[in-house]
Symmetry: C2
Subunit: 314 residues, 2 copies
């Protein structure tokens, strides 16, 4: 098979690899589409190696495609099923191997680009908002960096959960798109005037986190998933104490297979049905053929996109 | 009645006040003992005013004594009961008024000084460790500033809950006392060599919090209750994300009556029985007569004490 391949010096090429063979609990999938995430760009630069068990040189943490073959212990899926899934790496290839537990059936009517950009974005947003953040009906929710893949997923999830959503995006041309998703958009650094927030999904961090904390309601939670604007922030613990605030963070990729399943199962049960009926979707900013991944990464890195950049088989 | 009274210029005197009269849900208590907390010293200096509904000039958040009179709607207690309770302020007086819901019966055999220093310390520690921190059997728990009132309560609660407890105390003469409570003592700034910790009760903060965060296990929680060593800390969010850590903080005093009841009821049900059978206690470092509160505050402020400083009726 061919796969997007990271070469020394961060070169990104479309190169040949041996076809992967499924183990007993694994599924071999013919990849139709694979979303790009910020982690892929970090991995290309050598800052974020793939976890053990994933191909070290093939990026890609989410994909969709058709089941080609199943390991002997697989029970839930069948050859020919349209699936989408989560990987530690290796998704940006003609063929991908996934744990059967880390795959979900793509609902009828959902396009390949949407399915290929769904899993990492929505699992990350669901884990952060619901499992860590305790998202609940009527919460006032702040999503920073809302125009990206996880941001647009977080906005839609929170709206679907009955929250009032306030969304920051640097580029004003995205504000109408965010309104269309049900959020009240604003430009960063105005958080204070839009609070108080019960829950903040922090995808940017830097000193903007201070603004989010200042605008937090009593008992408010900040879940940090991205730190593109800076990971080192000064925190005023008296403010944390006065607000009885919770500041937490996580990554999805480093988790064990069982921990990932613990996120995928409720996403499959509670979020995929909303995707199936069109209550939420994946805005696809651009698609590129897998073989032209270098151009796609360049587009992703240039920013100012709304939603996901997705690689396609052809 | 007479009460410890804060006068302009942070003067602390023993002065006369009108006798308080219980409202329908209130209980009038003849105070036997009242613990001193760091918040009282801050209040004296003008940094931490009493919440609405509490006397503005009489300090004291915990006390024990005998029920003298009950409001018309009180149902749980009777005149003559030995009680201990939580107040927003006003405990350091001959007479104190408390919500009936914020009082607990003092178990037989528990001395007045122990009862008078129990409620604030144990409610704070229970709320932080159990309700906020999710303390569970087998957790490795760090308590910083472990020699103080909340620290000694936190150590004993965590030991009683089946945790392994590591306790920091600046003064080595307290290390044997901490060992006697079941903790492994160490001097601050050595946190890294004693981790990884599942839960940290942070009573000191400052840059020591960085050490606690560095020594945190995956999924570890830091609950910040005291910031004597500094409230502004630099936080590395990448470490928070990598450890899937939770940093949270709170104060007890600012909460509503109902929120305080939500802490007192489980403490009454689950912790007071352990006090009754001697599985935990309040180490009393010193007692002073209420009328000599200024000397007691001086003793408290000088530090290097193990456990509580408690004021007594006579």
């Amino acid at each position: 098979m061919h796969a997007v391949t990271i070469r020394p010096g961060a070169e990104l090429v479309w190169a040949e690899h041996p076809n992967p063979e499924p183990g007993p609990h694994q599924v071999l999938v013919a990849v139709e589409t694979a979303g790009i995430n910020a982690a892929d760009l970090l991995q290309r630069q050598g800052f974020y190696p793939a976890p053990p068990g994933s191909p070290p040189d093939i990026p890609g943490m989410e994909f969709a495609g058709v089941v080609l073959a199943l390991g002997s212990e697989c029970r839930r899926l069948a050859v020919g099923d349209r699936v989408m899934g989560l990987l530690g790496g290796g998704a940006q290839a003609e063929l991908a191997l996934a744990d059967e537990d880390h795959l979900m059936v793509v609902p009828d009517g959902v396009s390949w680009p949407v399915a290929g950009g769904f899993v990492e974005a929505y699992c990350t947003a669901y884990d952060a908002l619901v499992l860590q953040g305790g998202l609940s009906v009527g919460d006032r929710v702040l999503v920073t960096g809302a125009a990206g893949g996880v941001g647009t997923a977080g906005v839609q999830l929170a709206v679907a959960a009955g929250a009032e959503v306030v969304a920051s995006a640097r580029h004003r041309e995205h504000h109408d798109d965010l309104r269309a998703l049900g959020a009240e958009p604003f430009v960063p650094d105005e958080a204070l005037t839009h609070g108080p927030f019960d829950l903040a999904l922090e995808l940017v961090a830097g000193q903007g986190l201070t603004g989010a904390l200042d605008a937090l309601a009593t008992g408010g939670r900040v879940v940090v998933i991205g730190v593109g604007a800076g990971a080192r922030v000064e925190l005023d613990l008296l403010k944390v104490m006065q607000r009885r605030a919770v500041v937490r963070g996580s990554t999805l990729r480093a988790r064990t297979a069982a921990e990932k399943s613990a996120v995928l199962r409720p996403v499959e049960a509670h979020v995929v049905p909303l995707l199936a009926v069109g209550r939420l979707t994946v805005p696809v900013a651009a698609t590129f053929p897998l073989a032209e991944a270098a151009a796609a990464y360049e587009r992703f890195g240039a920013g100012a996109k709304f939603g996901k950049v997705v690689l396609t088989r052809s």
